[in-house]
Assembly symmetry: C2
Homo-oligomer: 230 residues x 2
């Protein structure tokens, strides 16, 4: 079947989650890298733990809980001021450069409220046909009910979809569901240099292909390379 829709993951794929680092650098310069990396690692962990606990709480809750964890782990008191500053930045992340030329949508772990603010703040709303939150499945990716929202919301069959993500766990989940998948592998495999700090640990854990047995159909280095697939 021809590709009729291009569905994007949001955080890490269209939006640079590490752009919160500019804010942590203002607030806690010495611990900025550590807070940023632990926050994002824990935020993902909590989506998977929450799935297993079988009681959905939206990505706003998850994002705040993981931020509190990260601040404490870095030895920073999680005051209301610092939490509010960093959560506000999460609603206005920097978009990665590049955009496609066909029917476009986001499918993200973000809550409806978070995504709506983010897409508006970055002016991507003008280019998107839909912004789909996993809120409607009350599960987080890679749960199959999340990917099933694409057909429910857009009427696209599984084999008409090219799903695009830079998150390798999301590539695994989308292939397992049955989508065609393009993996945006930014920076490629980081050959480990010494010393390995928090940012390198994050990249080693996130930027390499998962080994659970579901491989992507296409690998591209940047959003702008997607045009060659269509």
């Amino acid at each position: 079947m021809p590709i009729k829709g291009l569905i994007f993951d949001a955080y890490g794929t269209l939006y640079d989650v590490h752009s919160v680092q500019s804010k942590t650098e203002q607030l806690r310069p010495a611990k900025s890298d550590l807070i940023t990396q632990i926050w994002r690692l824990k935020q993902l962990e909590y989506t998977w733990l929450q799935n297993a606990l079988q009681g959905y709480r939206d990505f706003g809750f998850i994002t705040e809980a993981s931020l509190v964890f990260a601040l404490r782990a870095a030895g920073v008191e999680p005051s209301q001021d610092i939490i509010k500053s960093l959560l506000d930045k999460y609603l206005d992340l920097d978009p990665f450069p590049g955009r496609g030329g066909c029917r476009l949508a986001i499918l993200s772990n973000g809550s409806t409220a978070m995504l709506s603010a983010l897409v508006k703040n970055s002016s991507l709303d003008a280019f998107l046909d839909a912004t789909i939150s996993v809120d409607d499945a009350r599960k987080f990716k890679p749960h199959p009910e999340c990917y099933a929202l694409v057909e429910k919301k857009l009427g696209l069959k599984t084999d008409e979809v090219l799903f695009v993500s830079s998150n390798s766990f999301d590539v695994t989940g989308a292939k397992h569901f049955g989508f065609k998948v393009a993996w945006i592998r930014r920076g490629g495999l980081a050959a480990p240099a010494s010393p390995i700090g928090p940012a390198q640990m994050y990249r080693l854990l996130r930027a390499n292909a998962e080994t659970l047995g579901y491989s992507e159909d296409y690998t591209v280095a940047a959003l702008t390379d997607l045009i060659t697939l269509l």
Copy 2:
């Protein structure tokens, strides 16, 4: 209700998963820390991802898949020799010192085959009334069906159980299920020193309390302190 059974998590709680580092040091001294930490972080991630993918594959598969990931991430070719050496070590981990004096059992993510070998190799089998694998639930902790195996296998009611784990995600899951929970907090909160390497990142992510809203009943520093709770 009085406590009638003491149920232990195995990996990280009764057994030191970082004792594989002695083997990685023999095989790849320069990358030993990195391989060990990424292996264990990824192994946990894969249990949660596999839960979400809803197709159970046992902890033997998960342990090998995460090892292959860790070796590649560290820039080491995942040869059959190195994989076999490290997986064999996982069947003969070093036990932490200390043991309790009442009815004792393990509830672990380990597969039946892995746990059976591990408990035998460490001679803990003489002290245990049961070794329960999540294999029988075909889910990984913190899924509630895993904790429910304790009543099925030992006839203990939820409020008769003290569940013991050093893994904070497991504390969250066991409290969410309804057990009384003792958290073994080895080493306590690591105040982050600079530079933060792979071992520090592991501890920061794993040795701090989770923030999803389920707190332990007791915190102890070592297995031997459990005796004071009974």
